[in-house]
């Protein structure tokens, strides 16, 4: 496969096609084989991980497993279920979307439509977005604890709760976990939205302005509707990424066990990713609980990985369309 690819003229470079050499060079063949092998290895790796989880997870996956749970025996193969974790993970991700999408989209609109690309402010915003994307997830966890719970929550308690009462806000809860995740996924949404805004032909904006629309009207009625697929991609990426993150919610909201579903923003919640961690590291008998562990991982993957795949495919399509329109 690799040697065939090496001697095939590259279609993206029509100019070079005629000059393609048929010369047989040993080093070239070895190099092509090695790099092709590396590509194959990566694809295999993906296949092995997904295959292993799918094959070992499917037997444990039943309707009962998905719709039951909240049982104290989370390590009992016949009783355990994941419904509370699915609900908890979904709730925290939906809440997060409510926070992150508006802020991310508005920032992207400012950066592409309004900002002067060479001004200092714009450069600082871009640097901040880049750096936010690289902050380790555990640091977001520390930030959530230090800022949201201890500072924001502490202030709320001081203001609205009687002195000496049990803290209501200054403790882990689903609101703080969602906000922490929203900060973490902000760069994803900004970058994805920006990319789709840039892919919109300049002529559309010009036509709208020529018809007498103001800049804001153009942005609202012409640019934004066109950018919807990109915004959607950003949202899906954020949900896929945040859905599987455990480190940021370790101290900000995830609970080891809860008898009931979260009912208020200040309640803690059970989480699929955190549950996976508990099942893999704290099981009294790992061989016995292996089926539920694999089934939990499979559910987690079905929820997050599929979203990521959809986002990657959507993004590839937007990029192709952007290339085609320019």
């Amino acid at each position: 496969m690799s040697s065939a690819a090496a001697s095939t003229p590259s279609e993206t470079l029509p100019a070079s096609a005629g000059f393609e050499t048929r010369r047989r060079d040993r080093a070239s063949m070895v190099g092509t084989a090695i790099t092709g092998g590396a590509t194959l290895l990566l694809l295999l790796l993906l296949g092995v991980i997904l295959g292993n989880i799918l094959v070992s997870g499917l037997p444990g996956l039943s309707i009962r497993f998905i719709i039951s749970g909240a049982d104290k025996d989370m390590f009992d193969v016949n009783k355990a279920g994941v419904l509370p974790m699915i609900v908890g993970t979904s709730l925290r991700v939906i809440l997060m979307t409510l926070f992150v999408i508006p802020v991310g989209v508005i920032t992207a609109i400012y950066l592409t439509e309004y900002a002067n690309p060479v001004s200092l402010t714009t450069r600082i915003i871009r640097t901040a977005v880049n750096n936010l994307a690289g902050v380790p997830s555990i640091v977001f966890g520390l930030f959530g604890l230090g800022f949201f719970i201890n500072f924001a929550g502490g202030t709320l308690d001081d203001l609205f709760r009687p002195r000496g009462a049990e803290p209501l806000w200054a403790k882990p809860g689903i609101l703080w976990a969602s906000l922490t995740l929203a900060v973490m996924t902000l760069p994803l949404v900004i970058v994805a939205t920006e990319e789709s805004l840039k892919a919109i032909p300049v002529g559309l904006r010009e036509a709208s302005l020529a018809l007498g629309a103001t800049k804001l009207e153009t942005v609202r009625k012409i640019v934004l509707p066109q950018a919807l697929p990109g915004i959607l991609t950003g949202g899906i990426l954020a949900v896929g990424r945040a859905g599987g993150e455990v480190a940021p919610i370790l101290f900000t909201g995830a609970a080891y066990y809860m008898a009931q579903y979260p009912r208020a923003l200040t309640d803690q919640f059970m989480d699929l990713g955190y549950h996976t961690f508990i099942l893999s590291t704290q099981s009294p008998n790992i061989d016995q609980t292996r089926p539920i562990l694999y089934a939990t991982v499979l559910v987690l993957l079905l929820l997050t990985f599929t979203l990521n795949v959809v986002a990657i495919l959507l993004r590839a399509r937007i990029r192709r369309r952007a290339r085609a329109s320019h």
Binding site: A38, L43, Y110, I138, K215, T281, A322
Partner: protein, 390 residues
């Protein structure tokens, strides 16, 4: 290619002069600007709030000495309340609500505790001083100076050397594994693969980034650890090697994706010229395209490094978590991230262990911040060169 921000901007500025803008729109547009500053605000707040909790340790304002100065029980009434409160380790409300008898009792307990501790030579040390944090120390009962991280013990030992070494070991394995493989795959996908294969290969490899890190941690813990141990025959099932390999899988999408972009961004004329001079596609890729894209590949490695030292769940689950100083990759290891994740839940707010973990977090933040800055620098330089602006 999509139009650059500059192109979009130019089209705006050409038409902007004739627009009519309503006052409401002015307010909305100001609002848009303010919201767009939130990313800056967030980075600033992270810096402030993670740093703030760790700062007292850095400034030497916190002490971890198990045995502080003892206030004799008889002197209780002479001591100012604020000092007494700190001495007894109580919060303001607790102190106010407590009656005199209970306080006396606490003081007696404290004095008795100090007497037993008095026999321990190290009890008076403030282990948060720099020399105890960074250098090995001859602890009582040990044969030679040792660097120990042992926050939960009578003498709180906070030497961060074992954690630094652990983090570097896991990161080193991750980079040694993922960089060559990802770079080779990037060369193949961007230069040698048939375009129709390239179309699906790139998204497929990038799908690795869709696997949550807790799932990779689980995979390393259950599958990789069991598979690799008989293969290499090492003693400890979970170690820096296993964790590093899983960490490598986690950073492959980053390294691959950025190197592939860098290789693709090299102007096609380079390749066409090389092919015209009679080189094979491999020779063009290896001797012309790759050297031109070296800065981008460096940026990919730097970003991968930043991602690897910050990854938490994988190392927490697969590294074994023993904080020992050793050069062997096959020994159980504890990294900075895993330490924070495992220990923060059991610390007391504001106490030295809590602050120490935040200091570690700030250290991590600084390291990734710098590596990000460096990578961005390299990439902007590369982009400028490829577009012929530099």
């Amino acid at each position: 290619m999509s139009p650059s921000t500059e192109a979009v901007q130019e089209s705006w500025s050409a038409i902007e002069r004739g627009r009519r803008r309503r006052p409401v729109e002015y307010v909305v547009e100001r609002g848009i600007f303010l919201v767009s500053l939130s990313a800056i605000l967030m980075v600033f707040l992270i810096f402030l709030f993670v740093g703030r909790e760790g700062l007292p340790v850095l400034l030497g304002r916190q002490t971890s000495a198990a045995l502080a100065e003892v206030i004799p029980v008889a002197d209780m009434d002479k001591t100012p309340p604020a000092k007494l409160q700190r001495y007894l380790g109580l919060t303001g409300t607790q102190f106010q609500e407590m009656d005199r008898e209970t306080k006396l009792e606490l003081m007696t307990l404290k004095a008795e505790g100090a007497q037993t501790l008095g026999k321990e030579k190290d009890a008076r040390l403030n282990t948060l001083e720099w020399r105890y944090l960074l250098f090995p120390y001859q602890w009582t009962g040990y044969d030679r100076p040792e660097a120990i991280w042992q926050p939960v013990s009578t003498i709180h030992k906070y030497n961060i050397l074992p954690l630094l070494i652990g983090t570097l070991k896991a990161t080193l394995v991750a980079l040694l594994f993922s960089v060559p493989v990802s770079l080779a795959a990037a060369i193949y996908v961007s230069q040698l693969a048939h375009p129709s294969h390239k179309e699906w290969m790139k998204p497929a490899i990038e799908m690795l980034s869709g696997i949550p890190s807790v799932v990779l941690g689980f995979f390393a813990l259950l599958v990789m650890a069991s598979f690799l141990q008989p293969l290499f025959g090492y003693e400890s099932r979970l170690n820096a090697f296993v964790a590093g390999l899983a960490l490598g899988i986690a950073i492959i999408p980053v390294v691959f994706s950025i190197s592939e972009d860098a290789l693709t961004s090299v102007p096609p004329a380079y390749k066409q010229a090389a092919l015209a001079l009679g080189s094979t596609p491999w020779q063009a890729a290896w001797k012309v395209i790759l050297p031109a894209a070296v800065p981008g590949v460096c940026a990919a490695v730097v970003l991968g490094f930043g991602r690897a030292i910050g990854e938490t769940m994988i190392v927490l689950m697969a590294s074994g978590n023993a904080s020992i100083v050793s050069a062997s990759l096959f020994d159980s290891t504890r990294t900075i991230t895993a330490t924070i994740a495992a220990e923060l839940a059991e610390t007391v707010f504001g106490e030295h262990h809590y602050r120490m973990l935040f200091l570690l977090g700030a250290l991590l933040f600084a390291a990734t911040f710098l590596s990000n800055l460096l990578a961005t620098r390299i990439m902007t330089g590369l982009k400028a060169r490829m577009e012929g602006r530099a």
